[in-house]
């Protein structure tokens, strides 16, 4: 029979952000990220993340910790957490989506992209431009041509509000 005296110590990882801050997390929390998982499988315990800034990393570690402890009973709690998580500025969302993309966390990626897509949904192109500060660099003639090519897609009523 195997010895039972060894104390079970949780394996830890160190993540280093783009601004050189270091964070210690449990391996089981970190491996929800495919990028981290691949490195862990190759034996790394120190993970430099040159594309992820401290501010985003703190939020993402929060997210990973919450989702690592997912059970049937805290389903509601996680839903509320997720809702709060995406309730932030566009600048934060874009920073997070880039980080989640780099870290390959697919559930987070889907949630963030859905949040951004929801701001495009049902809106007129003019409203979308204003919401995201998109600078239209078409000439009026070019724009008319593109609209004409898929005329039916531009028919109907759109949401012009900016919220």
């Amino acid at each position: 029979m195997a010895s039972t005296t060894e104390t079970k110590q949780k394996k830890m990882l160190i993540l280093k952000s783009a601004d050189n801050d270091e964070f210690e997390i449990e391996e089981s929390v970190g491996v929800q990220s495919e990028t981290i998982k691949n490195l862990v499988e190759d034996g790394f315990t120190f993970v430099p993340l040159p594309n992820v800034y401290t501010k985003a990393l703190i939020k993402i570690i929060d997210y990973l910790k919450k989702h690592a402890n997912k059970t049937d009973s805290n389903d509601e709690e996680i839903k509320t957490f997720d809702k709060d998580f995406v309730n932030t500025t566009f600048d934060d969302l874009f920073e997070l989506v880039s980080a989640a993309n780099y870290l390959h966390i697919s559930c987070l990626m889907n949630m963030l992209c859905q949040t951004i897509a929801d701001r495009i949904k049902d809106k007129s192109p003019e409203a979308v431009r204003k919401i995201f500060h998109i600078n239209c660099d078409y000439t009026p003639e070019e724009e008319a041509k593109i609209r004409k090519a898929n005329a039916q897609a531009f028919e109907g009523q759109f949401d012009e509000s900016l919220d």
Binding site: A18, P48, P50, N51, F90, D91, F94, E95, V97, S98, N101, Y102, M109, N110, C113, Q114, I116, A117, D118, I120, K121, D122, P125, V128, R129, F132, H133, I134, N135, C136, D137, Y138, E143, I146, R147, N150, Q152, A153, F154
Partner: protein, 469 residues
């Protein structure tokens, strides 16, 4: 490590458009309607062609009207909306899945369905295509000739279509093929399909008759699923390369395995409708032969009908042949009546390492009660010698049992029986099913089981119980 462009915040700038293309495509893929995605082309030059590369899956399911009168109208409306949607999607370059489901087919829709198939074969490079029609008026859609050649499909599901070939099939990249309710199928059609799919790995046939012998020589075809064989005459299967075979549903004729030399996993979840007057000679012979054919197979799963049938065969004195199976799953919340048949079957499973009893598929037919009553069978179970040696059985799992188990006589009997005969048992797992009305009582019941069960006599000193509820 590859250096990626760092994103610098731009005060009030267009940070969305600055995101890498892969992220923008991911965002666009979250928009549900084709129109929405197409409209982004007008935002700026950056967005001009992005929409075309959005990976999408298209699923259309026909709704039903409130009553018969307006159902036709509802169908026509939906039909028009499918065509409108497809108009937008036709310029997309990455449509992985296209699925149309639930049209109650009449001949007047032939052009519409042809257009979908045309979309799936010629316009978009679709990988997964599902065409699910319902045959309501005895009018069947004939799968068009132009669709018998296609190299982009990987998964194809056809439901209620007629296959009529005047040319050779060429679906060279097809990996998985499911044909449902094709009804009449000939050996010639099957041969044409199989020879045209050299890369096929999984074949599922559901609801068919006409073939007497299904011969599969495709080397890559590893998985064969046969559901609801409706032929009156028996079906023979010659498939020397398949590793996974599943026979399911309600069969009319018998199924025999003539050559399944590579088989690793077999699922016998089939059953027959037995009338009251039948002696079911034919059906029990079929099961006996199937059990013989799968004796060398490593993993075996039996459904409710087969389990009942085993007990009837046991009463008639049948001995299952010795087997090499290491894994056995029994899908039934069995009753006292079933125990002798199961024990007899375990006697023929001396190499067994894992036994799973899954209560999810509950069988309500009283096939067995015609032959013997419960008291009599209990007495037989207690007095008869069902000793068996399970010298390798390490894991036993009771899963998906609903409601309290502690007072369930057949569960108690089988737990005691297994503890007595499994000499090297390590783990006995008892896990409750999804919980609903039984939640409170189940929990109490499990707490009591945790106290009682470990006290039962057992032959393995290392056996431990794990309860989960």
């Amino acid at each position: 490590m590859e250096k990626q462009r760092k994103m610098m915040p731009m005060e009030g700038g267009d940070r969305l458009s600055d995101l890498p293309e892969s992220i923008l495509l991911h965002i666009l893929s979250m928009l549900l309607e084709g129109k929405e995605v197409v409209r982004t082309s007008v935002l700026s030059r950056r967005w001009r062609f992005l929409w075309m590369s959005v990976p999408v899956s298209l699923f259309f399911g026909f709704p039903y009207g409130e009553n018969q009168d307006d159902s036709k109208e509802v169908t026509l409306d939906y039909l028009a909306s499918v065509h409108r949607e497809l108009y937008y999607w036709k310029s997309f370059e990455k449509i992985r899945r296209f699925s149309v489901w639930g049209l109650r087919y009449e001949e007047c829709y032939v052009k519409d369905v042809d257009l979908w198939v045309h979309f799936a074969t010629k316009i978009a490079n679709i990988e997964d295509f599902t065409l699910g029609l319902f045959n309501m008026h005895d009018q069947r859609y004939e799968f068009p000739q132009f669709a018998y050649k296609n190299t982009s499909w990987r998964n194809l599901v056809l439901w209620d279509c007629q296959l009529n070939f005047s040319c050779r099939v060429n679906w060279s990249n097809l990996v998985s093929l499911t044909l449902m309710y094709l009804n009449y199928l000939t050996e010639g059609v099957m041969e044409n399909v199989l020879s045209g799919c050299p890369n096929l790995e999984c074949l599922q046939l559901d609801g068919f008759w006409g073939i007497r012998c299904l011969e599969i020589s495709n080397v890559k075809l590893r998985k064969l699923i046969i559901i609801n064989y409706e032929g009156d005459l028996s079906l023979e299967i010659l498939a020397p390369h398949i590793q996974n075979l599943q026979l399911k549903g309600s069969c009319r004729g018998e199924i025999y395995l003539r050559n399944v030399a590579s088989l690793v996993t077999a699922v016998l979840h089939l059953g027959f409708d037995i009338g009251d007057g039948d002696e079911f000679q034919k059906e029990s012979n079929c099961l006996k032969q199937l059990i013989h054919s799968v004796a060398p197979v490593e993993n075996l799963e039996l459904g409710p009908w087969c389990i009942k049938c085993l007990s009837i065969l046991e009463l008639k004195g049948w001995q299952p042949p010795p087997s090499r199976r290491k894994f056995l799953q029994l899908n039934n919340t069995f009753e006292q009546l079933d125990l002798p048949g199961i024990c007899r079957f375990l006697q023929s499973s001396s190499n067994l390492e894992t036994l799973v009893i899954d209560g999810f598929n509950h069988d309500t037919t009283n096939l067995l009660s015609k032959y013997i009553n419960e008291d009599e069978q209990s007495r037989r179970f207690e007095t008869h010698n069902f000793n068996c040696s399970l010298l390798h059985l390490k894991t036993i799992k009771f899963i998906n049992f609903l409601g309290p188990l502690r007072k369930n006589k057949s569960v108690l009997s089988s737990v005691k029986y297994l503890l007595k005969h499994a000499t090297v048992l390590e783990k006995f797992v008892i896990a409750a099913a999804y919980q609903g009305i039984y939640k409170g009582t189940t929990a109490k019941d499990y707490v009591k089981m945790e106290l009682e069960f470990p006290g039962f006599p057992r032959s393995s000193p290392h056996a431990s119980f794990i309860f989960s509820y």
